[in-house]
Structures are given as C-alpha cells and as structure tokens.
Subunit: 390 residues, 2 copies
Amino acid sequence: MADTKVYRASTTAPVNIAVVKYWGKRDAKLNLPTNSSLSVTLSQSDLRTLTTASCSSTYTGDDSLLLNGEPSDVSGARTQACFRELRARRAALEAADAALPKLSTFPLKIVSENNFPTAAGLASSAAGFAALVQAIGNLYELPDSPSELSLIARQGSGSACRSLFGGYVAWRMGEKEDGSDSKADLVAPASHWPSMRALILVVSASKKGVSSTSGMQQTVATSGLFQQRISTVVPANMALMEDAIKNRNFPQFAEVTMRDSNSFHATCADTYPPIFYMNDVSKAAIRAVEAINAQAGKTVAAYTFDAGPNCVVYYQEEDAATVLGAFAPLLATAEGWKDGSVVNASVKLDEGIAGTIKEGVSRVIMTGVGEGPLKTDEFLVAEDGTPVKR
Amino acid sequence: MADTKVYRASTTAPVNIAVVKYWGKRDAKLNLPTNSSLSVTLSQSDLRTLTTASCSSTYTGDDSLLLNGEPSDVSGARTQACFRELRARRAALEAADAALPKLSTFPLKIVSENNFPTAAGLASSAAGFAALVQAIGNLYELPDSPSELSLIARQGSGSACRSLFGGYVAWRMGEKEDGSDSKADLVAPASHWPSMRALILVVSASKKGVSSTSGMQQTVATSGLFQQRISTVVPANMALMEDAIKNRNFPQFAEVTMRDSNSFHATCADTYPPIFYMNDVSKAAIRAVEAINAQAGKTVAAYTFDAGPNCVVYYQEEDAATVLGAFAPLLATAEGWKDGSVVNASVKLDEGIAGTIKEGVSRVIMTGVGEGPLKTDEFLVAEDGTPVKR
C-alpha cells in the first residue's frame, strides 16, 4: 500500500539581536562571515516565527513556502541550499535504515507565520530561517545538534544560525573554506542570566535603507577602516563580551555592546557611498541612554542598532524602574508599551531628546532574553496537507 | 626723545576647508597632529578675518585683543604661545640691528573682525589665528616665509597653519618632537586650478555639538578604528589628493574628498561616547550630491563636512549650471544665494531629499578657491591707538 500520509512537524524560533555585530562576508555563497559575532536570543512570547514543515508523496509540484499568508519564492540559492542539506541528511538516515519512509524524496510544503508585524522593521530572516531549518529537521527526525543545524541555517541567512539557541549565543566565524566550522555555539543559556531585558524602540524610517546583504559587501569592498574592525576590534569585543556574560557583568556587557554598535555603524558611514542606518531619532535614543546611565550614576542601559534606525535598549530587570521610567513619560501611550511596567521617573531626559523620541518612535516592543526553538503541536498545515486558516 | 609712535600693520586672512581632514593631536600642547591634512583656501571676498596688530611704548597694561567688537581673552596658552614666538623672532632682529625700535618690548593691541556672522557656524579660528600671526609678523617686519609663520599659527589653532597660503595647501604632520617640521606647504596656488568653487550649505544645528578640540582627543583615546585612519587611510588620501590637484583631476579630487570626510566622521561615530556632527539634513545633502553626480553621468560635485552639520560642496565653475541648478529650486530664496548664479535645473532631486534640504538649510555661502593673507591699509586701530569705530 502506498504511503499517502502527510508528515508534519512544527517549531517556533526566536529573533536574536547581536551585541557584537555580524557585518561582512568572506564567502558570499556559503555565508561565511569576516568576523565572529554574538547575540542575545529574545523571548518568543513577544517575537517568534512559527513554522510547520510537511511533506507527502501525495504532494505534487515543487517545494513551496507560504509566509504570513503569501506564497514566497523558494527558488533562491539560499533556501535551496537549506533544502538540499537537510534532504541529504535525511537521505543518509534512510539509506542506513530501509524501514524509514522516504521523506527526502517528497515535495516539501512549508507554512510560516511571524507574531510581529513586518512594519516593525525587525529583521525576521533570522527567526525565519532558523524556524525553517528546525522544522524540517524535526520533520526528518534528524539527530543533529542545534550547532550542527546552525551550519545549515547559516546558509539561509547568516544571523539565523544564532537563533538555533536560546540565551547568549556566539557565531564562530571559523577558518575552513567549506564553512564546516562556521556555526553557532552556546555561550550561556537564558537561565544563566535571566534578568536581561530589551526595550525596542521602533523608529519610523521615511524610506527603506540599503539592505544588509548588499550593504555589508559594499563595506567590505570600500571601507578603509573595515579591516581594523575585523582584525582587531571584533576579536577584542568577543573576548570581553563572553567574559561579561560569564560573570553577569552588566557594565562591561553594556560598554562592549555600545562600542561594537558604534564601530559597526562607523564602518557603514565609511562605506563609499556612505550607508546611514541611524537617523536623528536613533541618535536621540543614544543620548537618552547616556543620560540614563549618567543620572543613575552607573551603567544600567545599553543601546545597539542593527541595519536600521530601531534602537534596542538592553537593561536588567532590577533596573526596569530607572530605565523604563525615563522613557515612560514619552512612550507610555505608544503601541506595545506594557501597562504597569514601571514607574519611577527619577531620570529626566533633556527636552530636545525627549521630543525627538516621542515624535519619532512609533511603537515599542518590551521583551527579554529567551529560549531557543521550541517544538510545538500547533500546526499551520492540516492533516490533509492544506494550510490552516487562521 | 622717547618713541611714542603707534606702530600698526593690517592683514586679512582666509578660511580654509579641508579635503583631507585634520582630526587628532599627537601632542596637545604643541598642536602636533596625528596625520597630515590638505585644504582649499576660500576666497576672502566672501569669508575673511581682518586684523590690525599694533604696539606702542605708550600702551599700558597687558596685550589685548578686541574680536568682533568684544574684548577677547588672550591669556590662554595657545594665544600666548603665538605672542611669545613672534616676540622672540622680533627680539632676534632687534638684537642684530640696534637701530630697530624695540617693538618686542611694547604691549600689543590687536583688533580683529570677521566679515561673516558667527551664526554661520564656520570655524573662524583658522582665519583668526592666521590673521593674528600674519598681522604681528607684518608689524614686526619679520622676514619669515608663510611656511615659517605657519609653524606659529599652528600653535594657536592647528588648521590655522593652512590659512597662511592661498590655493591648495598641505599641512605636513612632521616627525620631530618639537614640532619644527609640522607646518603648511603650498601644493598649488589658486591660479593653478582657479575654477574650483564651493557652495556652503549652512545647516541649523539645534544645539552646539562637541568642540573639535575635545572631540578629536576623545577619538584618539577611544576609537578602535582611528589607528587605521591615521596609519593607512590618510597617507593614501594625501597622495591621491596631491596627484588630483596637480592634474586638476576633479573626479579624483571629489572621490578622495568625499571618502575622507566619510572616514573622519566614521571615526567620530566610533568614538566612545559617539560624536555625531552630521544630522539628517547633512545626510540629505550627501544624497543630493550623489544624485547630481549620477544624473550628470560624471562626478561634478563633492561633499565634505567639518566638525558640524554644514555641507561644503566643491565643484568646478564649468559645472555651476548643473550643480547650482539642482539646489536653486530649494535655495534660491535662502540668505546668501547669489542672484543669477544659475540656472539649468536639469538635475531633479528626490522630493524627500529636496524637502529636508529646503527646510534645514538656513543660508548659503557661494564662494571659491582664493588667495592667502593680504596686507592691507585698512586699519582697525587708529593712529592714536584707539580702535576704529565702524
């Protein structure tokens, strides 16, 4: 009797925000970076991708992906690389055990959804590729560790490899030409330093900037300062950051986070033509964090910016009153502000800074460090193989 | 009979805008830079300081300076260093020729005026110290060359040394500990490449930023990328820039100008805490210059920014219609726009960029390459030693 079953597996995967930034590829095809990087995985209660991978001999046509309700192209080299690698691993299992169904030969039907709006301007590709790889890994019942799966996710989107773990995650750049040592590695689980919180200030950008994929390669090609970043600055920051995390040393964590963000954006500004991701609102957020630390008399907050104007402010739970208290007068009515989060407005921001932030921040996301991908019984593909209507 | 004469000498001195930037001191006391730099001297018809130096045995009290009608402190180490050095040279002349009046022993009374408003946010210290040193040099009838006088002006304000020459001027960083080889040097006179024009977009800054004196030392102390700039980037830019000037190669001049400005501001952004001189209006000006070059199909304009948000656009006279034509629809009614300068609005700027510039540029200065200090018979001190009322 033919196997007509629809095989399914679901996972969620988190967003991560780097504190030592990935910027630059030494091999664009394999997504091999010019430097190691390190990130904090954010809680999936607030930000996650849910992906169901399914396959069946009854499916016809090519592999497909439905993303946030819209068909998404999977013919790109990056997605194809993930499918190919995952199928090869499944095929090896099937070759070793004839009793296994030949899932590697079936078309894949994948359905994926984010729980946050694309309008938030958050890089969703990391969570997206991590969920894609983990879901198929689950579907294929691969024995691979998260670190091994991260090798595959990396080929989809570089920073996706870090979303295979929760907590504090390093992406080791590796040295090998085939990229087999360029993968994610757990520095510390979320439970090691569970008090880490993140306030994301979503800044309205008037226009989409340069994509990170093309931007980073322009930086590699044209910035006269970039070599110094990858050869000296980042290795030092990686060592300091791992040390800070191991010792739960927030001031050190914060300083390295801020310096590395500055260094990354400096190499963008040194790109020719220059790339500017931060705008005047972003800079007001930097000044706000500086004012909070100055008025608190100690370092209680750190800013970092990815390839866009949004500011991510890291702080510890015990300093929530101080940090959130400074922003509450401006942002308590903004979308996403969690009521009753605070309030102790002991820190007073300069009027110009406050006005710029109030006017320029369209919503906030209040979250914290969280876990890695979680297997779930929530399916976006029904038992008959059709997408679940939601 | 006692010598009761009031000795006077007047000079004007120009502003200069660097195309390879000075940023960082290796010796703060002597104003010795971490790298060489190169500037274009701007026409004194538009921007100049007029300074009269006078001295007399009848003057009582300390040396004094009246700047734009206000008494100005001359007790600072930098001004004192200039006075001391100039007096020492005069004293040497007097020692060699007993017939010379002993001007070196008389108090100095100096009166100085800029022909541009301080509100323009242009660094006036370069023109100011160049005029001060040249005026006293004239008063003392020193035989020193402009390059030798530049050694003294450098101690007043680093970039002032470049305002001792017209045209295209290098400040060679030198190697000696005493700074005796850190001085200005003529790369080419204005007559070599007289068609160089500058459009200065004066951008309203909401607040005074970090001063260049303290900012550059913060960069030296904290930027992880700075070493690469001074050891590699600037030496390469200096060589390319001198070559561009010698060959009147505008595209090369423009590219190095823009890249060096980007590199300088990148090291500011990499300073901890970061220094941002450019704002969203400055960035719109960068995008405008990029659009002008793209639409012209060749490089006809270059942007550069000093330690502030103002954009200086260099272009050649023959491209005035293209370059000014792009800005005319936005700025023809701005203060300082010279009527009938243009118009060929063949370049059309993006609406967002145009709107940001129109709203954020408060005035313009339209000028070009010009001559060095000029001796003048216009005196700001009367024959009786009193300041001239104007």
